[in-house]
């Protein structure tokens, strides 16, 4: 197995994530797509750390997971606040707000 296989898999996930962010209009699904992006990066880190025999990549993954947790916490808090304020989490609605 060459690391490129893993990178390709990561890229597939990344593509899915990007498509989700651009096409879906549900804020929560968009946030889940962001998680996909973060995970594809994680995969690259782990595969690269294995390929180069360095452990740094795995430490980075730990930090990325930390960041993902914080991002999810704050992001979902905002989603909840928005939902309470406007009663919807459809991005089209907020697009209209832009004026």
């Amino acid at each position: 197995m060459s690391p490129d296989h893993y990178y390709a898999l990561a890229l597939i996930m990344f593509v899915c994530g990007v498509i989700g962010i651009t096409l879906r209009r549900n804020l929560i699904v968009i946030m889940m797509s962001i998680e996909l992006l973060l995970n594809s990066v994680n995969l690259i880190f782990v595969a690269a750390s294995k390929a180069h025999g360095l452990v740094d990549g795995q430490v980075m993954v730990l930090f990325i997971i930390t960041i993902a947790a914080c991002e999810a916490a704050v992001g979902l808090a905002m989603v909840i606040a928005l939902y309470r304020r406007y009663g919807t989490i459809d991005t089209d609605f907020y697009r209209m707000l832009r004026g």
Binding site: L62, I65, T66, A69, A72, A73, A77
Partner: protein
């Protein structure tokens, strides 16, 4: 050795398949889905308390902290006092957050 490690993964796979097999096997013996009963279809899923969200939120943040502490505990003997001081600072920062949470009465269930 390697055998033991390999066994680990094999078991993972095995019991993952063994787990679902049981209930589904039994499921075939039972009848098909019966008459649908009509139980409250009202919008119960709305107006949920935000408390549950706050609980889950604090859970993930403290979970991360636990993970870091596990890693620290594992190599504790090699780090010694250096590690203790390090983790102490880490915990003090987090305790600030904890105190804030308590002050904000985010953990009160009423």
């Amino acid at each position: 050795m390697l055998v033991a490690a390999a066994v680990g993964f094999l078991l993972n796979v095995l019991s993952r398949f063994a787990g679902p097999r049981r209930p589904s096997k039994v499921k075939y013996e039972s009848y098909e889905c019966g008459v649908p009963t009509d139980v409250s279809k009202s919008g119960v899923r709305e107006n949920m308390s935000v408390k549950y969200y706050v609980t889950a939120l604090l859970f993930i943040l403290f979970d991360i902290e636990t993970v870091f502490l596990f890693l620290w505990a594992k190599i504790f003997s090699q780090l010694g006092w250096f590690g203790i001081v390090e983790v102490f600072i880490f915990l003090v920062v987090l305790l600030c957050g904890y105190v804030y949470v308590l002050k904000a009465r985010a953990l009160e269930w009423d």
